[in-house]
């Protein structure tokens, strides 16, 4: 562990301030709570909100998993996991089932989450109305009045122009029937996992200085229309490694001719399935040393 810094980097007063914001966020599901976001030693836009939330909730007995695009070994996930290994000395893991806290960028793990787990989302733009109304003064007023018609109009315009709702990720949701919320740039494939999840979902936006939350077992509804119901991505392929037909697949270009293969975006899910003998790339279970 690094010397000269407090446990998990932030000082205790700052953590208290963030915990207060988290408590308020949990009490008002989907509402964006302004907080005194600190300047972190990692760049804005690279997970500073998620890092501050994780730093405020992590304890020495926690086990932390960090993913980016569903993968534990993408460079920014590696960097953030190392940051906490260095500043908090907490155990880290790549296995969803072993983690008590999962910090994520752009995915929710495929493995079903359980009670007691906390998912911390890194959020670039917390305001769901931002691209329809750039002014914070205006969007705060719109939330206060639950004035969300503009979003329905936007989705309707998509249908009029393209024949379908043309939003693939960061698909807007309504939380507990009240606040419109950005689920962060997860694919809409993951939206159903937010609905009544037994895990606590915390969202941190460092640069924009906002925290919001979906408490366990809370209704999260993806916006849609009766005649254009919400739908998720589909593939006519299965994972080329583990054979999964139920996971979000990344498309990978494998040769100069533009040949493609599809693999699970969730590397832990894929590896676990292969360990269990599934798919073309099934492997005998290795002894994994999850801790860093």
């Amino acid at each position: 562990m690094i010397q000269g810094y407090n446990f998990a980097y932030l000082d205790e007063q700052t953590k208290r301030m963030i915990r207060r914001a988290i408590l308020k966020a949990v009490a008002i599901p989907g509402y964006q709570v302004p907080f005194g976001s600190r300047e972190m030693p990692l760049p804005y836009g690279w997970g500073t909100g998620g890092i501050q939330v994780t730093a405020a909730v992590v304890g020495s007995d926690d086990t932390l998993k960090v993913i980016d695009q569903g993968a534990d070994d993408t460079t920014n996930a590696v960097s953030i996991r190392r940051f906490f290994a260095k500043t908090a000395g907490v155990a880290t893991t790549e296995r969803t089932v072993d983690a008590t806290i999962i910090q994520t960028r752009h995915r929710i793990p495929e493995t079903k989450l359980r009670e007691g787990q906390i998912v911390v989302f890194q959020v670039p733009i917390p305001e769901p109305l931002r691209w329809l109304e750039p002014r914070e003064t205006e969007t705060r007023r719109m939330h206060a009045h639950a004035e969300y018609a503009v979003m329905s109009v936007k989705l309707y315009e998509d249908i009029a122009r393209h024949g379908r709702i043309a939003t693939g990720y960061d698909y807007p949701v309504k939380v507990a029937g009240r606040y419109l919320m950005r689920p962060s740039p997860i694919p809409k494939f993951d939206n159903p996992k937010l609905d009544r999840s037994p895990a606590l979902m915390l969202f941190g936006a460092g640069r924009e200085k906002r925290i919001y939350a979906v408490p366990p077992h809370t209704e999260v509804k993806s916006l849609d229309f009766e005649d254009h119901p919400f739908e998720i991505e589909r593939w006519d392929k299965t994972c080329a490694l583990c054979g999964a037909a139920d996971s979000f697949l990344d498309e990978v270009i494998v040769d100069d001719a533009g040949g493609r293969m599809h693999v699970c975006s969730d590397t832990d899910y894929c590896a676990e399935r292969r360990r269990q003998g599934h798919g073309p790339a099934a492997v005998p279970a290795p002894v994994e040393d999850a801790a860093q």
Binding site: P43, Y44, E251
Partner: protein, 363 residues
């Protein structure tokens, strides 16, 4: 068989070793020292201290060295350090009227008490590369010039003279209550002027310069005169709780710019010049002038002017003036986005497939 982007940790370590080597440059050339940066690249240190909001010349020099001369990166380094420091006290407002002046000019009056003092300025240099500087080891240029003069005695501010006649709006009275700290509490709109000035003081120089320039070209022109620009040292005082009176804890270099702008007035109020204010650490004349123009533009509502231009739009100006925030968010586009891109591919393919089948059906 495709192998996922494995080995992230190894790659990161290798990249950082390469960075260390690149920073050092040619090993046969002497390493640059912090004292050299502090002394010979002092304006770079001033900018880093200003936009990092931390007055520490040596740490600024260290940040510049570590950042390979990338000043925005250096500002980031210094800010990330600053955020870990405890706040011991808030100083008394510094009195720039008592500044020990090294440079002081006014573009509004030909002469004035205290005089025009050029000081060490690039102004009126002909921008010709000085090849003599390339021949290192020569006699320091300072030897050929007179000893630096004693600091000019404190001299009254230009705005003060206009104030006596009531020609300019009085300086804003200090607002009651604790000074807000935008590094501790999130900025809320509309912001008061002191919060705005705080954001501008640590705002990106290039951004403020462009906005200030836009006002001069007609996007909310505010008819400015450089009433006064002064650079020099001021005392910083705090009032320790146990003493109850101010004690000086040191001195800092500041550059202050007071712009005199066109007047407001009407039937019930005699015409008065208005003010725009800029203040920056060290010698940052361009920054403080740009800040003063933008400050004045942002007072549109207060002065009853129509808001028509970007520089008058508080939320636009303040939400985007921070270069550490901007740099991080622009550059986060380097991070993997392939999940989101996959979602977009799914959407666009479905739209195109639906359109194609519709066309076929029509044919």
């Amino acid at each position: 068989m495709y192998v996922a982007v494995k080995g992230g940790e190894v790659a990161i370590d290798a990249a950082h070793r390469l960075l260390a080597r690149a920073r050092r440059g040619d090993g046969t050339v002497a390493e640059v020292s912090l004292a050299q940066i502090e002394g010979q690249l002092s304006l770079a240190a001033d900018r880093v201290m200003g936009e990092a909001s931390l007055y520490d010349r040596t740490l600024a020099a260290l940040a510049i060295k570590q950042a390979r001369g990338d000043l925005v990166e250096a500002i980031f380094l210094l800010r990330a350090y600053r955020t870990t420091l405890p706040r011991l006290a808030a100083s008394e407002p510094v009195d720039t009227g008592t500044m020990r002046i090294r440079r002081r000019i006014s573009a509004a009056f030909k002469d004035l008490p205290g005089g025009q003092v050029l000081g060490p300025t690039f102004d009126y240099t002909h921008r010709l590369l000085d090849f003599a500087l390339a021949a290192e080891g020569g006699a320091p240029a300072g030897e050929a010039t007179p000893e630096a003069p004693d600091p000019v005695a404190p001299c009254p501010r230009v705005a003060g003279f206009l104030n006596k006649e009531g020609l300019i709006e009085p300086a804003a009275a200090p607002e009651p209550g604790a000074v807000p700290d935008i590094t501790r509490a999130p900025l809320d709109y509309p912001a008061d002027r002191r919060t705005r000035l705080q954001a501008l003081a640590r705002g990106d120089e290039g951004y403020l310069l462009a906005l200030a320039y836009s006002t001069q070209r007609g996007y909310a022109n505010n008819h400015p005169f450089a009433g006064e620009i002064r650079t020099g040292k001021v005392d910083v005082e705090i009032v320790p709780e146990e003493l109850g009176f101010p004690v000086c804890i040191g001195e800092i270099d500041l550059t202050e710019c007071e712009m005199i702008n066109q007047f407001v007035g009407g039937p019930d109020r005699p015409a008065q010049f208005t003010r725009g204010y800029g203040l920056a650490f060290g010698e940052q004349e361009r920054k403080s002038m740009a800040m003063a123009l933008v400050d004045r533009a942002l007072r549109a509502d207060e002065l009853g002017e129509p808001r028509t231009a970007p520089a008058q739009d508080e939320e636009f100006v303040l939400a985007h003036c921070d270069n550490v925030e901007a740099s991080g968010f622009v550059q986060h586009l380097k991070l993997p986005h392939y999940v989101d891109f996959q979602s977009e591919l799914d959407v666009i393919r479905r739209i195109r497939a639906a359109a194609a089948s519709k066309r076929e059906a029509a044919e």
